[in-house]
């Protein structure tokens, strides 16, 4: 293919060609980063909670007065909810559930020496202590949530204490926390030091995400302990078949109010668990939508620019195309001419765009929580833009190749 004539022809349209190269470069830089941001957000919103999300519903109840007997009310409520048809199991928690955004966390140390060290420093940083999230709840919580117990046992009735004033003697922790606190050891039977209390690990669950997310490294640090909620506000967790959730929420509210009317069961605070999860990630899903829209918009505008310019150039060169055809160029030659020209322009844009993409990524890294752009984005981005360019130029190029040789003999 003759590249030199293309280059010398482009030199005549230097300014326009440079503008097109610039546009492709900026599009390439922005779209590469946008795709990367989308990938990061998608990874964030698809994190596993470790619970049976599709089978759970939550109902929030708030008693009017703190003077009532919370234990009696919770026991009655649980019995009422359990009696509804379709409920497989039910448990009460104070407020903590994965992604519920209400967190209860304590500093926990694997041994007494590190506890003293952390106390002296007034911080768990730099010691082997961590700040896991604590999940309280009534009997059967582990089964109701659908947690996968991979070692040890569930709690027995004797393990339970009432209210946050008392610390239970045993706990079940996540695998991630076990590996952090007791690396290389069997976590069963180990002791956790929490303030003045010593708590024995009796079980390990596979995954249980925290109510709030910080960084992936610590998001799986959770403890379930046999502490019954004892406040006038309580959250009931119901497990049922997915299709029963809406009905159970409706009937559950009525049943609770019938059992004792002296309380607030706010319809805004009862929902299938999946709604709670969706709310937690709402900003991320909005952002994903915006990023995708912006990326597609940019590609569209760039394709538009390429097609528009090619169109002009074809019109402008009709006469010279005719001459080339008259002296023996085939239709394929003309088609390839425009395709090659586009390939060169987009190629120059991509080279510049790659540099810009890394520059943009560096700027984003200093101001936002963005990591380094992986290298494999570059060939994919290049391929996508080349493809886009070829598609955009195809129409005008075909029109150019259809110019009959006889045009050469006409004066304008």
């Amino acid at each position: 293919m003759q590249i030199l004539p293309i280059l010398s022809s482009l030199r005549r349209h230097r300014l326009t060609a440079v503008l097109l190269v610039l546009q492709v470069a900026f599009t390439c830089a922005i779209v590469c980063n946008v795709v990367f941001l989308v990938a990061q957000r998608v990874q964030r919103v698809s994190v596993a909670t470790g619970i049976a999300e599709n089978e759970l519903s939550v109902i929030h109840s708030s008693g009017y007065t703190a003077r009532e007997n919370a234990q009696a009310r919770h026991a009655t409520d649980l019995a009422v909810l359990r009696a509804m048809s379709g409920v497989r199991s039910v448990a009460a928690v104070s407020w903590s559930l994965p992604l519920s955004q209400s967190d209860d966390s304590y500093g926990v140390c694997p041994d007494d020496a590190s506890r003293k060290q952390a106390m002296a420093r007034r911080s768990a940083d730099g010691t082997s202590c961590v700040q896991p999230s604590m999940y309280d709840g009534t009997e059967g919580l582990i089964g109701t949530l659908g947690l996968r117990l991979i070692a040890g046992r569930d709690f027995t009735s004797d393990d339970y204490v009432v209210g946050s004033a008392h610390k239970p003697a045993v706990a079940v922790i996540t695998r991630a926390l076990a590996q952090r606190l007791y690396p290389g050891k069997d976590p069963l039977g180990q002791s956790m030091y929490l303030g003045d209390a010593v708590i024995r690990v009796v079980g390990v669950v596979d995954t249980l995400l925290r109510p709030n997310l910080r960084t992936p490294a610590v998001d799986g640090y959770s403890v379930v302990w046999p502490q019954k909620p004892d406040g006038r506000t309580v959250t009931y967790v119901l497990r049922s078949a997915p299709q029963d959730r809406a009905r159970l929420l409706r009937e559950g509210r009525q049943a609770l109010l019938a059992a004792s009317p002296n309380r607030l069961v706010n319809p805004d605070r009862m929902e299938p668990y999946t709604d709670m999860r969706a709310r937690f990630f709402q900003r991320d899903t909005t952002m994903i939508g915006l990023l995708v829209a912006a990326g597609l918009g940019l590609l569209f505008v760039t394709a538009l620019g390429i097609a528009g310019l090619a169109n002009f150039w074809v019109q402008q060169r009709t006469r010279s195309i005719g001459i080339r055809r008259a002296i023996g160029a085939t239709r394929g030659d003309i088609l390839r001419y425009f395709q090659t020209e586009n390939f060169l322009i987009v190629g120059a844009g991509i080279v510049l765009g790659m540099a810009l993409a890394f520059g943009l990524n560096a700027v984003l890294m200093t101001h936002y929580e963005v990591s380094r752009l992986p290298l494999f984005y570059l060939p994919i981005g290049a391929l996508a833009l080349w493809l886009l360019g070829q598609l955009a130029v195809l129409g005008p190029a075909l029109r150019a190749s259809a110019v009959p040789p006889v045009v050469a003999t006409r004066s304008v």
Partner: protein, 438 residues
């Protein structure tokens, strides 16, 4: 002459209707996206109390121990004041008006049957609060400093909460039940919702929270009512670090009105002196110069209420606009240069370069006006979608007239700028050469 250029421009645009439409669409999309995000940023950095903000200040002390390290994600405990410090500042009475405050959420029980119980968000504060911020009363008035001192069970309700509890608004003198206690209603305020809620603790939803009741801070301390903001303690002694009256727990916000620069300077000096005195007493450990006085807008800037996502969205929109503009420059350039023949004829007939420049400029401006109109519609659509996000700032995403005009000016300016280079390039076409070529 202008009318003639308009006619020429229209004729030229009509010759390539698809291309014209695409250029208008590109400007419209770019402007629409940018103006949506600029508007969101504009309303989020708005002055919540335009008439008073110049005279409102918030004092800050640093009572934290020297060895206290502020860990990672949590709010800074030094953003708030402890009870003893807030009460000292209040009693010193160095400002024109001053008030200490904290947020709280209480379960409100309806008085009239048939109404629903609800959680009401409100504020525990001191007597000057209403005059300090200019809260408008519908019925009654606030409480007095004597009520504060006595811990009187009085409450000021918002019009909204009064209607939810009593079914009507003129309820001064009646009794409202909030949490576990009864309060005598002394006033009802009409809708007052500065956005952002600059005086609240940093952990709340700054743009969506509205206070629906106000009651004396002394009651909240006496009865240990729940506080909804950040309560940070830093004492090994659990009691001092977690009780509301404790000297080692910060949970209060404090605002003061200072009318003249001299008063501001005096107050700054007073804060440093107070800190020095506390340090001499052994309570404070950090240098007294840590004490600071923020103006309202400075405080909002310091708090940085705009989420990173919004910044990112703004940059994305501006990047999009930029690419759209480069696109239009290229298209206009190709378009104008294709008309070299026509231009050289006009030049040969006596048109000056300036005339050609203006003629082509009018054409680009026309595209800008059309693109701006489309961009305005797209921005309204964008803001509508922002208002339907569940984000805290969703409800305030509205375009005011100045932003409306700004959108239009930006669109026309952008497209005229985009047309400058092509028009300049085209008006340099030499008359003779082009005539010969055709």
């Amino acid at each position: 002459m202008f009318a003639y250029y308009m006619e020429l421009a229209l004729r030229s645009l009509k010759r390539n209707p698809v291309l014209t439409a695409l250029m208008v669409l590109a400007i419209g999309l770019g402007i629409g996206a940018s103006m949506t995000m600029i508007t969101v940023l504009h309303v989020m950095t708005n002055d919540p109390l335009p008439e008073r903000s110049a005279h409102l200040y918030t004092p800050h002390l640093d009572p934290l121990p020297l060895d206290y390290t502020h860990g990672g994600n949590g709010p800074d405990p030094a953003d708030n004041l402890t009870w003893p410090d807030a009460m000292s500042l209040l009693r010193a009475h160095r400002g024109v008006r001053q008030a200490a405050m904290a947020g709280g959420t209480l379960l409100a029980l309806p008085v009239q049957s048939g109404l629903q119980a609800l959680y009401a968000a409100g504020r525990y504060t001191t007597a000057d609060f209403f005059a300090l911020f200019g809260v408008p009363f519908e019925y009654g008035a606030g409480w007095s400093a004597e009520d504060d001192a006595a811990g009187a069970h009085v409450v000021v309700l918002s019009d909204e909460l009064a209607r939810k509890l009593f079914g009507r608004a003129d309820v001064v003198g009646r009794t409202a039940r909030l949490g576990e206690l009864d309060y005598r209603v002394v006033g009802v305020v009409s809708r007052w919702d500065p956005a952002p809620q600059f005086y609240a603790d940093s952990t709340g939803s700054q743009f969506s929270d509205i206070d629906t009741f106000f009651l004396p801070l002394s009651v909240a301390v006496n009865e240990d009512l729940p506080v909804s903001g950040n309560e940070s303690g830093w004492s090994d002694d659990e009691k001092a670090g977690s009780s509301k009256r404790g000297a080692a727990m910060s949970w209060l916000q404090f605002w003061v009105q200072l009318d003249t620069p001299a008063q501001v300077a005096d107050y700054r000096r007073y804060l440093v002196n107070y800190s020095a005195q506390q340090k001499a007493l052994g309570r404070f450990q950090r240098p007294p110069t840590e004490a600071a006085l923020f103006g309202l807008m400075d405080w909002l800037a310091h708090r940085n209420l705009v989420p990173n996502d919004v910044h990112l969205q703004l940059w994305l929109a501006l990047g999009f606009l930029f690419v759209c503009m480069v696109n239009i420059v290229a298209l206009l350039l190709a378009k104008f240069l294709r008309r070299s023949g026509e231009i050289s004829v006009r030049r040969a007939l006596g048109a000056r370069r300036r005339d050609i420049f203006v003629q082509l400029g009018v054409e680009s401006a026309l595209i800008g006006v059309a693109g701006g109109t489309l961009g305005l519609a797209i921005a309204q659509l964008g803001l509508w979608s922002v208002r339907h996000r569940p984000d805290d700032y969703a409800r305030i995403a509205q375009m005011d007239p100045s932003m409306l005009a700004g959108t239009f000016v930006l669109a026309v300016l952008a497209s005229v700028l985009a047309g400058l280079l092509p028009a300049w390039r085209a008006c340099r076409v030499a008359p003779a050469l082009q005539l010969k070529a055709s």
